[in-house]
Symmetry: C2
Subunit: 237 residues, 2 copies
Protein backbone atom coordinates (compact mmCIF):
# COMPACT_ATOMS: atom_id res chain seq x y z
CA UNK A 1 0.00 0.00 0.00
CA UNK A 2 1.48 3.32 -0.99
CA UNK A 3 0.84 6.44 1.07
CA UNK A 4 1.82 8.67 -1.80
CA UNK A 5 -1.60 10.07 -2.56
CA UNK A 6 -2.69 10.95 0.92
CA UNK A 7 -2.29 14.62 1.75
CA UNK A 8 -0.98 15.60 5.20
CA UNK A 9 -3.57 17.24 7.43
CA UNK A 10 -3.27 20.99 7.64
CA UNK A 11 -2.33 21.70 11.26
CA UNK A 12 -2.17 25.48 11.01
CA UNK A 13 -4.62 27.31 13.26
CA UNK A 14 -6.99 29.88 11.81
CA UNK A 15 -4.87 32.66 13.32
CA UNK A 16 -1.73 31.14 11.73
CA UNK A 17 -3.44 31.21 8.35
CA UNK A 18 -4.65 34.77 8.78
CA UNK A 19 -1.15 35.87 9.83
CA UNK A 20 0.30 34.38 6.63
CA UNK A 21 -2.49 35.91 4.55
CA UNK A 22 -1.90 39.37 6.00
CA UNK A 23 1.84 39.20 5.26
CA UNK A 24 1.08 38.13 1.69
CA UNK A 25 -1.34 41.02 1.39
CA UNK A 26 1.32 43.57 2.45
CA UNK A 27 3.78 42.09 0.03
CA UNK A 28 1.45 41.80 -2.95
CA UNK A 29 0.28 45.35 -2.48
CA UNK A 30 3.87 46.50 -2.22
CA UNK A 31 3.23 48.21 1.12
CA UNK A 32 6.28 49.88 2.72
CA UNK A 33 7.11 50.85 6.30
CA UNK A 34 4.92 53.83 7.21
CA UNK A 35 2.04 52.83 4.93
CA UNK A 36 -1.38 52.47 6.59
CA UNK A 37 -3.07 49.06 6.44
CA UNK A 38 -6.82 48.32 6.12
CA UNK A 39 -8.97 48.14 9.22
CA UNK A 40 -9.84 45.03 11.24
CA UNK A 41 -13.38 45.08 9.89
CA UNK A 42 -12.25 45.21 6.26
CA UNK A 43 -9.87 42.26 6.73
CA UNK A 44 -12.61 40.42 8.58
CA UNK A 45 -15.03 40.85 5.68
CA UNK A 46 -12.54 40.05 2.90
CA UNK A 47 -11.14 36.97 4.60
CA UNK A 48 -14.48 35.77 5.95
CA UNK A 49 -13.26 35.27 9.53
CA UNK A 50 -14.27 36.91 12.79
CA UNK A 51 -12.79 40.20 13.98
CA UNK A 52 -11.40 38.37 17.00
CA UNK A 53 -9.23 36.20 14.75
CA UNK A 54 -8.05 39.24 12.77
CA UNK A 55 -7.29 41.05 16.00
CA UNK A 56 -5.20 38.17 17.32
CA UNK A 57 -3.24 37.92 14.06
CA UNK A 58 -2.61 41.68 14.08
CA UNK A 59 -1.51 41.47 17.70
CA UNK A 60 1.07 38.90 16.69
CA UNK A 61 2.38 41.16 13.95
CA UNK A 62 2.56 43.96 16.49
CA UNK A 63 4.51 41.70 18.84
CA UNK A 64 6.94 40.99 16.02
CA UNK A 65 7.25 44.72 15.34
CA UNK A 66 5.79 44.52 11.83
CA UNK A 67 2.86 46.86 12.45
CA UNK A 68 2.11 49.54 15.02
CA UNK A 69 -0.88 51.62 16.04
CA UNK A 70 -0.66 55.32 15.26
CA UNK A 71 -2.96 57.90 16.79
CA UNK A 72 -5.65 59.00 14.36
CA UNK A 73 -4.11 56.88 11.59
CA UNK A 74 -4.98 53.35 12.61
CA UNK A 75 -2.33 50.71 12.05
CA UNK A 76 0.72 51.27 9.87
CA UNK A 77 3.51 48.98 8.68
CA UNK A 78 6.81 49.36 10.50
CA UNK A 79 10.32 48.26 9.67
CA UNK A 80 10.89 45.32 12.00
CA UNK A 81 13.67 45.75 14.52
CA UNK A 82 15.58 42.54 13.87
CA UNK A 83 17.94 42.92 16.77
CA UNK A 84 15.28 43.76 19.32
CA UNK A 85 13.20 40.81 18.19
CA UNK A 86 16.15 38.54 18.56
CA UNK A 87 16.98 39.97 21.96
CA UNK A 88 13.70 38.88 23.45
CA UNK A 89 14.20 35.23 22.62
CA UNK A 90 17.96 34.92 23.06
CA UNK A 91 18.21 34.38 26.79
CA UNK A 92 20.78 31.58 27.04
CA UNK A 93 19.08 30.12 30.09
CA UNK A 94 16.09 29.40 27.86
CA UNK A 95 18.10 27.82 25.05
CA UNK A 96 19.14 24.19 24.66
CA UNK A 97 22.81 23.18 24.49
CA UNK A 98 22.59 22.37 20.77
CA UNK A 99 21.73 25.91 19.79
CA UNK A 100 24.22 27.37 22.30
CA UNK A 101 26.96 25.40 20.59
CA UNK A 102 25.77 26.64 17.19
CA UNK A 103 25.76 30.24 18.37
CA UNK A 104 29.23 29.90 19.81
CA UNK A 105 30.49 28.58 16.47
CA UNK A 106 28.74 31.50 14.79
CA UNK A 107 30.81 33.87 16.91
CA UNK A 108 34.05 32.31 15.65
CA UNK A 109 32.80 32.56 12.07
CA UNK A 110 31.92 36.25 12.50
CA UNK A 111 35.29 37.13 14.02
CA UNK A 112 37.20 35.23 11.35
CA UNK A 113 35.13 36.85 8.63
CA UNK A 114 35.11 40.52 9.63
CA UNK A 115 38.74 41.37 8.71
CA UNK A 116 38.06 43.28 5.49
CA UNK A 117 35.52 45.50 7.20
CA UNK A 118 37.93 46.20 10.07
CA UNK A 119 40.67 47.37 7.74
CA UNK A 120 38.37 49.35 5.47
CA UNK A 121 36.67 51.22 8.29
CA UNK A 122 39.26 51.65 11.06
CA UNK A 123 39.93 55.25 12.13
CA UNK A 124 42.76 56.77 14.18
CA UNK A 125 40.28 57.14 17.05
CA UNK A 126 39.54 53.39 16.88
CA UNK A 127 43.23 52.53 17.03
CA UNK A 128 43.70 54.84 20.02
CA UNK A 129 40.75 53.22 21.82
CA UNK A 130 42.13 49.78 21.08
CA UNK A 131 45.58 50.78 22.37
CA UNK A 132 43.96 51.98 25.59
CA UNK A 133 42.07 48.70 26.02
CA UNK A 134 45.21 46.63 25.46
CA UNK A 135 47.41 48.73 27.78
CA UNK A 136 44.79 48.53 30.50
CA UNK A 137 44.49 44.76 30.29
CA UNK A 138 48.28 44.33 30.23
CA UNK A 139 48.53 46.32 33.47
CA UNK A 140 45.96 44.09 35.12
CA UNK A 141 47.24 40.77 33.92
CA UNK A 142 50.87 41.05 34.94
CA UNK A 143 50.36 38.56 37.77
CA UNK A 144 47.72 36.27 36.27
CA UNK A 145 48.11 34.65 32.88
CA UNK A 146 44.67 33.13 32.67
CA UNK A 147 41.61 33.89 30.69
CA UNK A 148 39.36 36.79 31.77
CA UNK A 149 35.98 37.26 30.18
CA UNK A 150 35.84 41.04 30.75
CA UNK A 151 39.09 41.58 28.89
CA UNK A 152 37.86 39.43 26.04
CA UNK A 153 34.64 41.38 25.76
CA UNK A 154 36.34 44.78 25.84
CA UNK A 155 38.79 43.88 23.08
CA UNK A 156 36.58 41.79 20.81
CA UNK A 157 33.61 44.10 21.31
CA UNK A 158 35.74 46.96 20.02
CA UNK A 159 36.54 44.97 16.87
CA UNK A 160 32.83 44.52 16.14
CA UNK A 161 32.41 48.24 16.65
CA UNK A 162 35.23 49.11 14.23
CA UNK A 163 33.63 46.89 11.57
CA UNK A 164 30.80 49.41 11.74
CA UNK A 165 27.88 47.25 10.71
CA UNK A 166 24.92 47.95 12.98
CA UNK A 167 23.36 44.52 12.51
CA UNK A 168 26.66 42.79 13.30
CA UNK A 169 27.10 44.92 16.42
CA UNK A 170 23.58 44.15 17.49
CA UNK A 171 24.27 40.44 17.13
CA UNK A 172 27.39 40.70 19.18
CA UNK A 173 25.53 42.46 21.98
CA UNK A 174 22.92 39.72 21.91
CA UNK A 175 25.41 36.92 21.73
CA UNK A 176 27.46 38.22 24.68
CA UNK A 177 25.37 36.43 27.32
CA UNK A 178 25.62 33.29 25.21
CA UNK A 179 29.41 33.50 25.13
CA UNK A 180 29.49 34.20 28.82
CA UNK A 181 27.36 31.13 29.43
CA UNK A 182 29.62 28.95 27.29
CA UNK A 183 32.72 30.29 29.00
CA UNK A 184 31.35 29.57 32.42
CA UNK A 185 31.01 25.94 31.43
CA UNK A 186 34.64 25.70 30.39
CA UNK A 187 37.12 24.73 33.06
CA UNK A 188 39.54 27.59 33.74
CA UNK A 189 42.43 25.11 34.09
CA UNK A 190 41.86 23.97 30.58
CA UNK A 191 42.05 27.48 29.23
CA UNK A 192 44.99 28.43 31.38
CA UNK A 193 46.93 25.51 30.03
CA UNK A 194 46.17 26.37 26.42
CA UNK A 195 46.76 30.07 26.88
CA UNK A 196 50.27 29.51 28.17
CA UNK A 197 51.27 27.06 25.47
CA UNK A 198 53.80 29.45 23.90
CA UNK A 199 52.65 30.17 20.37
CA UNK A 200 49.64 32.19 21.42
CA UNK A 201 48.63 35.37 19.62
CA UNK A 202 47.81 38.09 22.16
CA UNK A 203 45.45 41.03 21.88
CA UNK A 204 48.48 43.29 21.42
CA UNK A 205 49.64 41.21 18.48
CA UNK A 206 46.17 41.40 16.93
CA UNK A 207 46.15 45.16 17.43
CA UNK A 208 49.57 45.63 15.84
CA UNK A 209 48.26 43.60 12.97
CA UNK A 210 45.31 45.95 12.53
CA UNK A 211 47.70 48.90 12.58
CA UNK A 212 50.29 47.71 10.07
CA UNK A 213 49.02 44.42 8.63
CA UNK A 214 46.53 43.42 5.96
CA UNK A 215 43.15 41.64 6.19
CA UNK A 216 45.02 38.47 5.22
CA UNK A 217 47.68 38.67 7.93
CA UNK A 218 44.98 39.61 10.43
CA UNK A 219 42.84 36.57 9.60
CA UNK A 220 45.79 34.27 10.18
CA UNK A 221 46.60 35.98 13.48
CA UNK A 222 42.95 35.82 14.58
CA UNK A 223 42.82 32.13 13.69
CA UNK A 224 45.74 31.49 16.04
CA UNK A 225 44.19 33.69 18.71
CA UNK A 226 40.96 31.66 18.57
CA UNK A 227 42.82 28.33 18.50
CA UNK A 228 41.70 27.19 21.99
CA UNK A 229 38.05 27.70 21.00
CA UNK A 230 38.42 25.89 17.67
CA UNK A 231 40.24 23.11 19.48
CA UNK A 232 37.52 22.64 22.04
CA UNK A 233 34.84 22.51 19.32
CA UNK A 234 36.64 20.17 16.96
CA UNK A 235 37.94 17.83 19.65
CA UNK A 236 34.45 17.25 21.07
CA UNK A 237 33.21 15.00 18.27
CA UNK B 1 19.68 75.08 34.39
CA UNK B 2 20.78 71.44 34.51
CA UNK B 3 18.46 68.64 33.44
CA UNK B 4 20.51 66.07 35.31
CA UNK B 5 18.02 65.29 38.03
CA UNK B 6 14.91 64.88 35.95
CA UNK B 7 14.05 61.25 35.26
CA UNK B 8 12.83 60.28 31.76
CA UNK B 9 9.17 59.31 31.66
CA UNK B 10 8.59 55.58 31.55
CA UNK B 11 6.98 54.93 28.17
CA UNK B 12 6.55 51.17 28.51
CA UNK B 13 2.97 49.96 28.39
CA UNK B 14 1.57 47.80 31.15
CA UNK B 15 1.78 44.77 28.84
CA UNK B 16 5.44 45.58 28.07
CA UNK B 17 6.19 45.63 31.78
CA UNK B 18 4.37 42.38 32.42
CA UNK B 19 6.22 40.73 29.51
CA UNK B 20 9.56 41.75 31.05
CA UNK B 21 8.42 40.62 34.50
CA UNK B 22 7.37 37.20 33.22
CA UNK B 23 10.72 36.65 31.49
CA UNK B 24 12.52 37.63 34.71
CA UNK B 25 10.33 35.20 36.62
CA UNK B 26 11.27 32.29 34.30
CA UNK B 27 14.92 33.17 34.60
CA UNK B 28 15.00 33.70 38.36
CA UNK B 29 13.19 30.43 38.95
CA UNK B 30 15.58 28.69 36.61
CA UNK B 31 12.74 27.31 34.47
CA UNK B 32 13.80 25.22 31.46
CA UNK B 33 12.07 24.33 28.19
CA UNK B 34 9.29 21.83 29.01
CA UNK B 35 8.64 23.21 32.50
CA UNK B 36 5.06 24.29 33.27
CA UNK B 37 4.45 27.93 34.22
CA UNK B 38 1.91 29.33 36.70
CA UNK B 39 -1.64 30.06 35.57
CA UNK B 40 -2.97 33.39 34.31
CA UNK B 41 -4.88 33.89 37.57
CA UNK B 42 -1.81 33.36 39.74
CA UNK B 43 0.25 35.85 37.73
CA UNK B 44 -2.67 38.26 37.81
CA UNK B 45 -2.83 38.11 41.62
CA UNK B 46 0.93 38.27 42.23
CA UNK B 47 1.53 41.14 39.83
CA UNK B 48 -1.66 43.00 40.72
CA UNK B 49 -2.82 43.49 37.14
CA UNK B 50 -5.89 42.26 35.29
CA UNK B 51 -6.07 38.84 33.67
CA UNK B 52 -6.53 40.56 30.30
CA UNK B 53 -3.10 42.16 30.60
CA UNK B 54 -1.50 38.85 31.64
CA UNK B 55 -3.23 37.11 28.75
CA UNK B 56 -1.92 39.64 26.25
CA UNK B 57 1.64 39.35 27.59
CA UNK B 58 1.44 35.54 27.44
CA UNK B 59 0.10 35.76 23.90
CA UNK B 60 3.16 37.76 22.95
CA UNK B 61 5.46 35.14 24.45
CA UNK B 62 3.53 32.51 22.51
CA UNK B 63 3.98 34.50 19.32
CA UNK B 64 7.72 34.61 20.02
CA UNK B 65 7.72 30.85 20.58
CA UNK B 66 8.78 31.12 24.24
CA UNK B 67 5.72 29.37 25.71
CA UNK B 68 3.10 27.04 24.31
CA UNK B 69 -0.19 25.58 25.47
CA UNK B 70 -0.19 21.85 26.20
CA UNK B 71 -3.37 19.84 26.55
CA UNK B 72 -4.16 19.09 30.20
CA UNK B 73 -0.90 20.74 31.29
CA UNK B 74 -1.57 24.42 30.79
CA UNK B 75 1.29 26.51 29.46
CA UNK B 76 4.88 25.28 29.33
CA UNK B 77 8.15 26.95 28.42
CA UNK B 78 9.52 26.10 24.97
CA UNK B 79 12.92 26.48 23.41
CA UNK B 80 12.44 29.41 21.03
CA UNK B 81 12.94 28.64 17.37
CA UNK B 82 15.37 31.41 16.52
CA UNK B 83 15.34 30.80 12.82
CA UNK B 84 11.58 30.60 12.49
CA UNK B 85 11.20 33.80 14.48
CA UNK B 86 13.64 35.54 12.24
CA UNK B 87 11.94 34.20 9.13
CA UNK B 88 8.69 35.94 9.90
CA UNK B 89 10.23 39.38 10.03
CA UNK B 90 12.91 39.06 7.37
CA UNK B 91 10.90 39.79 4.26
CA UNK B 92 13.21 42.07 2.27
CA UNK B 93 10.30 44.01 0.84
CA UNK B 94 9.50 45.12 4.39
CA UNK B 95 13.07 46.11 5.26
CA UNK B 96 14.74 49.46 4.71
CA UNK B 97 17.86 49.79 2.53
CA UNK B 98 20.12 50.37 5.54
CA UNK B 99 19.43 47.00 7.05
CA UNK B 100 19.53 45.26 3.65
CA UNK B 101 23.03 46.60 3.17
CA UNK B 102 24.00 45.39 6.65
CA UNK B 103 22.63 41.92 5.97
CA UNK B 104 24.45 41.73 2.66
CA UNK B 105 27.70 42.58 4.43
CA UNK B 106 26.88 39.93 7.00
CA UNK B 107 26.74 37.36 4.22
CA UNK B 108 30.27 38.25 3.11
CA UNK B 109 31.47 37.99 6.71
CA UNK B 110 29.90 34.56 7.14
CA UNK B 111 31.38 33.19 3.92
CA UNK B 112 34.83 34.54 4.72
CA UNK B 113 34.62 33.15 8.24
CA UNK B 114 33.33 29.61 7.70
CA UNK B 115 36.52 28.07 6.23
CA UNK B 116 37.65 26.12 9.30
CA UNK B 117 34.24 24.49 9.66
CA UNK B 118 34.20 23.57 5.96
CA UNK B 119 37.52 21.78 6.19
CA UNK B 120 36.80 20.10 9.51
CA UNK B 121 33.42 18.74 8.47
CA UNK B 122 33.62 18.04 4.72
CA UNK B 123 32.81 14.46 3.67
CA UNK B 124 33.45 12.60 0.42
CA UNK B 125 29.72 12.84 -0.29
CA UNK B 126 29.91 16.64 0.08
CA UNK B 127 32.80 16.84 -2.37
CA UNK B 128 30.90 14.68 -4.86
CA UNK B 129 27.83 16.90 -4.56
CA UNK B 130 29.97 19.98 -5.05
CA UNK B 131 31.62 18.47 -8.13
CA UNK B 132 28.18 17.78 -9.58
CA UNK B 133 27.06 21.37 -8.95
CA UNK B 134 30.19 22.79 -10.58
CA UNK B 135 30.05 20.49 -13.62
CA UNK B 136 26.41 21.35 -14.17
CA UNK B 137 26.99 25.08 -14.05
CA UNK B 138 30.01 24.81 -16.38
CA UNK B 139 27.84 23.04 -18.94
CA UNK B 140 25.27 25.80 -18.76
CA UNK B 141 27.58 28.75 -18.83
CA UNK B 142 29.68 27.86 -21.87
CA UNK B 143 28.01 30.57 -23.94
CA UNK B 144 27.28 33.21 -21.29
CA UNK B 145 29.94 34.52 -18.97
CA UNK B 146 27.72 36.64 -16.78
CA UNK B 147 26.46 36.29 -13.28
CA UNK B 148 23.56 33.92 -12.55
CA UNK B 149 21.87 33.94 -9.18
CA UNK B 150 20.75 30.30 -9.31
CA UNK B 151 24.29 29.07 -9.83
CA UNK B 152 25.50 31.22 -6.96
CA UNK B 153 22.85 29.87 -4.63
CA UNK B 154 23.49 26.22 -5.53
CA UNK B 155 27.22 26.50 -4.92
CA UNK B 156 27.33 28.81 -1.91
CA UNK B 157 24.33 27.10 -0.32
CA UNK B 158 26.24 23.82 -0.44
CA UNK B 159 29.17 25.46 1.41
CA UNK B 160 26.85 26.52 4.25
CA UNK B 161 25.55 22.96 4.34
CA UNK B 162 29.04 21.45 4.56
CA UNK B 163 29.86 23.74 7.50
CA UNK B 164 27.14 21.80 9.26
CA UNK B 165 25.91 24.38 11.73
CA UNK B 166 22.11 24.37 11.81
CA UNK B 167 21.83 27.98 12.93
CA UNK B 168 24.18 29.13 10.18
CA UNK B 169 22.22 27.16 7.57
CA UNK B 170 18.99 28.62 8.87
CA UNK B 171 20.42 32.11 8.49
CA UNK B 172 21.48 31.41 4.96
CA UNK B 173 18.01 30.19 4.04
CA UNK B 174 16.56 33.35 5.53
CA UNK B 175 19.07 35.65 3.96
CA UNK B 176 18.59 34.19 0.47
CA UNK B 177 15.68 36.47 -0.42
CA UNK B 178 17.73 39.39 0.87
CA UNK B 179 20.66 38.49 -1.40
CA UNK B 180 18.29 38.04 -4.30
CA UNK B 181 16.85 41.45 -3.65
CA UNK B 182 20.29 43.05 -3.51
CA UNK B 183 21.37 41.31 -6.70
CA UNK B 184 18.31 42.47 -8.58
CA UNK B 185 19.32 46.04 -7.82
CA UNK B 186 22.79 45.57 -9.24
CA UNK B 187 23.21 46.25 -12.92
CA UNK B 188 24.12 43.06 -14.79
CA UNK B 189 26.61 44.95 -16.99
CA UNK B 190 28.54 45.99 -13.96
CA UNK B 191 28.88 42.41 -12.78
CA UNK B 192 29.65 41.10 -16.25
CA UNK B 193 32.49 43.53 -16.52
CA UNK B 194 33.98 42.57 -13.19
CA UNK B 195 33.51 38.88 -13.71
CA UNK B 196 35.47 38.90 -16.91
CA UNK B 197 38.34 40.95 -15.54
CA UNK B 198 40.80 38.07 -15.73
CA UNK B 199 41.98 37.31 -12.19
CA UNK B 200 38.65 35.95 -11.04
CA UNK B 201 38.43 32.89 -8.80
CA UNK B 202 35.75 30.52 -10.14
CA UNK B 203 33.61 28.02 -8.27
CA UNK B 204 35.79 25.24 -9.62
CA UNK B 205 38.87 26.88 -8.18
CA UNK B 206 37.14 27.23 -4.81
CA UNK B 207 36.14 23.57 -4.95
CA UNK B 208 39.65 22.41 -5.79
CA UNK B 209 40.79 24.46 -2.84
CA UNK B 210 38.38 22.65 -0.53
CA UNK B 211 39.65 19.32 -1.86
CA UNK B 212 43.39 19.88 -1.57
CA UNK B 213 43.91 23.24 0.14
CA UNK B 214 43.80 24.51 3.73
CA UNK B 215 41.41 26.87 5.50
CA UNK B 216 44.00 29.58 4.93
CA UNK B 217 44.33 29.08 1.17
CA UNK B 218 40.55 28.79 0.93
CA UNK B 219 39.97 32.10 2.71
CA UNK B 220 42.29 33.87 0.28
CA UNK B 221 40.57 32.25 -2.69
CA UNK B 222 37.12 33.14 -1.32
CA UNK B 223 38.23 36.73 -0.78
CA UNK B 224 39.13 36.97 -4.47
CA UNK B 225 35.90 35.25 -5.45
CA UNK B 226 33.88 37.82 -3.50
CA UNK B 227 35.96 40.75 -4.79
CA UNK B 228 33.14 42.29 -6.92
CA UNK B 229 30.87 42.39 -3.86
CA UNK B 230 33.52 43.88 -1.57
CA UNK B 231 34.31 46.40 -4.28
CA UNK B 232 30.73 47.51 -4.65
CA UNK B 233 30.38 47.94 -0.87
CA UNK B 234 33.64 49.77 -0.27
CA UNK B 235 33.40 51.99 -3.35
CA UNK B 236 29.96 53.26 -2.38
CA UNK B 237 31.12 55.58 0.36
Amino acid sequence: MTMKNIKPIDTLSLVDKVEIRLLEFFKNNNLKPGDPIPKELEFSESLGVSRTVIREALLRLRTLGLVESKKHRGMVLTEPDIINNFARILDPTLLGTGILKNLFELRLILEMGMADFLFERKTQKDLDDLEEIVVKEEEQESDQSHFSLDKEIAFHGKLYQISNNKTLQGFQQLLLPVFEYVHLKNTPQDFKHRYSSGHFVTHRMLMDNIKIGTPETFRNAMRHHLEPHFDSIFKEK
